[in-house]
Symmetry: C2
Subunit: 257 residues, 2 copies
């Protein structure tokens, strides 16, 4: 099986010219087939503010009303995605920018409103692995924005971690897939104030212990839940690391089953 | 040779939900391989205004400073392009949205400043016909935004008529290519106030006569110059018609050599 590396990178890194340039160079060094999933939340918030569209967040998740959907479509699908693609092309990487609607690669449904109505937010139903695999086999590097579609004419704002994880799971039967989440810290830390305290390996049992001892807490819990789900679905390896270490193997935290 | 229809549609039609819905339905009726090139100028102007970025136009052409380049990247590459793609997917047309940077399909150079500095505006150097043809052969419908790239990391704002014309010329050796420009009027009119006065056919000699008699004037002259250039490069047929007639053959004005 051919090796495939999927990198998920947050908004902060791809939105600033300097950190984007560094990411592009590091990404270029990754051997074999590769795919990038990006965020863009900070730019979306900034542009929404400038347009006078108030942003509501619940537990760090954006409530996506119809006006905000227009903003994330512009920012994720246009500004951020095309800047990455153009930067990759400049160093000879044949990138292609995609949302879930393009080639119908990621279908989702609008999350039903419960106590919270997230608005135009999508929960993923289906990733077309064959369509993405065909691009990879042709030597293309897909760059995927955190937008899916419902097949009925609406784009839906979709968490970038979820997109990366769902794409990795769908591609796992076709490629020997590594999924790397870029993070502000060097990995999962034993002491959150010490970047040298990276936990090299975490399996399910260690995770439960660390969570019980409150060493793994907050936003890291869903990230790791996501990672274990991906491993269960055949993804070979999930890595959590700093963006500047994506091309260096053995860095960060490796999650294993 | 397989038949290919390339439709270029202006911003006005794709920016309003009602006219976009009508266009999508008409576009769906066109048999055989097809490709859509779109504008988006009105939305770009509106969003730029809302963001406080003043727009300068010279002879109807936008001066694209760096801030405006960000706006057109968002609006053309994101908002307009992805709305079209998502709408096409909703009726079962497997669309893929592209800028010139995606798959490196349209390379250009920044137009040199003369008396006028157009800023980040691209003049097309090369269209990768094979890359586009491969998508078409796979049953995909490319939807191309009016953005090209310079291969050095910058997107460039590029006239949508020019993109449509250059793409048609590049694909002409591979497909039996018809290029249709959608227009607000029913075609080239003998009397600009009478939509029933469509001139059915215009060849080079007729064009010269009509131009000398001032029946063809203003923005129609570069449109027709573009059309004749495309015909010279092997495009089979160039049609100028109203957007609501794209699926009806024999409507509008056919330009022939």
């Amino acid at each position: 099986m051919q090796k495939l590396t999927i990198i998920k990178v947050g908004g902060k890194i791809v939105e600033e010219p300097d950190s984007l340039a560094k990411l592009i160079n590091d990404f270029a060094k990754i051997p074999g087939l590769k795919l990038l999933v990006h965020g863009g939340g900070r730019s979306a918030t900034k542009i929404a503010e400038q347009l006078g569209i108030q942003q509501k967040m619940v537990d760090g998740r954006r409530i996506t009303d119809i006006e905000t959907l227009r903003v994330v479509t512009m920012v994720y699908g246009g500004l951020v995605n095309k800047n990455i693609v153009t930067s990759l092309q400049a160093i000879g990487i044949n990138a292609i920018g995609l949302t879930g609607a393009d080639m119908n690669i990621i279908r989702s449904h609008k999350r039903p409103a419960t106590e919270i109505d997230y608005g135009y937010v999508g929960d993923v139903d289906k990733v077309d692995a064959d369509a993405i695999a065909q691009l990879l086999h042709r030597g293309l590097v897909p760059v995927i924005a955190p937008l899916s579609h419902d097949g009925m004419g609406s784009l839906l704002n979709t968490n970038a971690d979820t997109i990366a994880s769902e794409v990795a799971q769908a591609l796992a039967p076709i490629f020997d897939t590594t999924l790397t989440f870029c993070f502000e810290k060097a990995g999962v830390l034993a002491d959150e104030n010490d970047d040298n305290s990276v936990i090299k390996k975490i399996d399910r049992a260690t995770f439960n212990q660390l969570r019980d001892r409150n060493i793994i807490a907050g936003g890291m819990i869903p990230k790791l839940d996501n990672a274990f789900k991906a491993l269960k679905s055949g993804v070979k390896e999930v890595v959590i690391t700093k963006a500047d270490s994506i091309a260096i193997s053995g860095c960060g935290t490796t999650i294993c089953d």
